[in-house]
Assembly symmetry: C2
Homo-oligomer: 409 residues x 2
């Protein structure tokens, strides 16, 4: 498999002091790690990032959450509540290009690592912060998890059945979606810094970031003058049929195919009729225009479903796609996991870990000269303490041992 991947070194030499935890922050630094940055997680010596879900006295049988957000990073344990620990991190910050944190509001200041403090130590630092709600928002001091930010950022309101309640999108856009926007801004600041050496403070809030992913809903609102609606698996505002989910054999919970004919391509409808064996309806005035088909949407959907029900979703996707009509089977995580073509292309890679069992996971999906970045395992808590303190600060083994005996690292 390693022939399908390559080490990406775009950010080689970039040093990141990573004070983040859970997902919104770690997803950001992981993106930078995939590109070759030296991302050093600073972790509490006892438990580390709570995203590790270490449970004292119990087997650590749930490392997956940690793996997926912390590939290709290193881990240094530091007790930030000890004065020596804090000084150690300040020494690291002097050597760093970027510091990033996503603690609860006010926590980084209480730790003694506010922007003013850090900037005084290293005027060229890029200081990045991820919070739930923005500075100046009425909810500035509130805690947020992904679901809270998604509810307050609008995604629930546009997801779900037309006449049903708002619904949670089943993935963590509030966290990873926010982390990606911060990664972009950090990279912009790094690019500039390479020329000027200048530092900056970057701040993003999850609620604000989510609206970025909903710009199409805001655009629809601009046209209709009404709040963007939800429409089950139909797309409100697109007046065309057939479009949507169609049930497939053998009728399992995810046995559906999404088919989308285009208003701009009248031949899609004729091609689809031919495929489903209903050439008799080609040219039928009842279904001639997109408006006609929308008016008879239940009938139209029935015509298509009568055919899809006799095919598996994979067969339906292939046949409809080959007929030149966009189609996508609804795939679940196990089906994606088991599809070897993702591994063959390096999109899924297996993390070989010194402690935990091998774990196949999505890798950074952008290919560089044909190959995605190669995965390195998530770090064991504190495994890189001596190594990083040596490389970054020139500390020798005796120095690290002394700090360890004092409970600083």
């Amino acid at each position: 498999m390693s022939e399908n991947t390559a080490e990406v070194k775009f950010l080689a030499g970039v040093k990141i002091v990573d004070l983040t935890q859970f997902e919104a922050g770690p997803s950001c630094t992981e993106a930078l790690a995939w590109l070759g940055a030296d991302v050093v997680k600073i972790e509490n010596p006892k438990m580390g990032d709570p995203g590790r879900r270490l449970r004292p006295g119990q087997p650590d049988n749930d490392p997956y959450y940690f793996h997926v957000f912390n590939a290709n990073k290193r881990s240094v344990t530091v007790n930030l509540k000890s004065p020596k620990g804090l000084d150690l991190v300040k020494d690291m910050i002097r050597q760093a290009d970027v510091v990033i944190e996503n603690f609860a509001p006010g926590a980084i200041e209480r730790l003694g690592l506010s922007y003013d403090v850090v900037k005084a130590i290293n005027p060229g630092i890029i200081y990045a912060q991820v919070k739930g709600f923005g500075e100046g928002s009425p909810y500035e001091k509130n805690l947020a998890f992904d679901m809270i930010a998604q509810a307050a950022g609008g995604t629930f309101s546009v997801t779900g059945e037309k006449d049903g309640p708002p619904t949670r999108p089943g993935f963590s856009l509030g966290d990873t979606g926010t982390g990606m926007l911060m990664a972009i801004s950090i990279l912009g600041a790094l690019y500039k810094r390479r020329e000027t050496g200048e530092g900056h403070r970057l701040q993003v809030a999850m609620q604000d970031a989510i609206m970025h992913y909903m710009r199409i809903n805001f655009a629809t609102q601009g046209l209709t003058g009404k709040a963007a609606e939800r429409g089950g698996s139909k797309v409100p505002g697109i007046n065309n049929a057939p479009m949507g989910l169609y049930p497939c054999a053998p009728g399992g919970p995810n046995d559906y195919v999404f088919i989308m004919t285009s208003r701009a391509n009248p031949e899609h409808w004729d091609r689809l009729l031919k495929l489903v064996g209903r050439e008799d309806l080609i040219g039928d005035a009842r279904y001639a225009t997109p408006a006609d088909r929308v008016a008879r949407e239940a009938e139209v959907d029935g015509i298509i479903a009568a055919w899809t029900k006799t095919r598996t979703k994979h067969d339906a996707m292939t046949a409809v796609g080959e007929a030149g009509i966009p189609a996508g089977a609804v795939l679940d995580t196990m089906e994606l996991h088991n599809d070897v073509t993702f591994e063959e292309r390096g999109i899924m890679q297996t993390m070989i870990h010194p402690v935990h069992k091998p774990f196949k996971m999505p890798a950074w999906p952008v290919r560089v000269d044909g190959k995605p970045a190669r995965i390195k395992h998530s770090p064991v808590l504190g495994a890189n303490t001596a190594e990083v303190l040596g490389e970054w600060l020139g500390m020798d083994a005796a120095g690290v041992a002394a700090l360890k005996s004092e409970g600083v690292v």
Copy 2:
């Protein structure tokens, strides 16, 4: 409002030849434009980016889709099917740092701007491509729209009611989510290029990119050994109650609040009971542990809902949040639009356009030194042709006029 925003110049001087259309590509280049890159859209002189939705002979009353994905860019019209037009774009590519396209599979090669051709013109170019399915995927040649990629990338399978069909997340993660990952990789390549001058080919597929946003679902699968499930507005895999959506007054379609008590914080339940006036249940053995409350989830939800139904979602969010329990009202696009605090913070900005009416939209949400990047209007088709050809290629007005008279620009 301009005092709340600032021009961000991180990427000042970076020249991008932008051949993208609709959303997946334009969202990527827009991110770079917010950071100060000179993003020049190359558009067909007749219709431009189909995302403009220009309708010949009809008033262009739907510019919003175009606005939201094309802020802060410039537009140059070029007829790529004319030999002179193709040469002109090649001349621009010689001056550029990045070229990006998201045409249908095979189209860029047919245009005569394949990677090999472009690399020969400019060996230092970063050449970026966004497609629906990856090179080497069985669906490599298929067309994809956002919904198709989301179905095939897994998001439908984890969204919707537990016993209901898979459901479309109501926003365009397949497009913008992919664009963000490509922006990150382009910025990594630009950082390296500043040192070495080296060019690279970058490729991303929407189906692959979506899996990046579903890593938590893959992590859950790692733990359970089963495909990640959907659970309405509950989060499958988190065994705690109360957690979820609770109905609020006056009972409109989005009058709900998401409340999330934490397993790790047993006091959340007691605080919530106090808030809702049910101190009588504090310490009640029936609801003592997370497991007890999950076993009686309908009862527990009823206790909370009896209170939330008497409050608006805003009041409920405020009260629950102030009690130290994470909570988020379900806000719709109109409520977000009308909340002036987003404008005050520069998160929402109004695009003042020379042709279309002013439009308030989400701006790039990451603040630099306290201020988000200032919006500039989306370009009128071809409005910057003479200006860009002058700046980039040193062409004078007569040269541009000659090209115009020949139908090249």
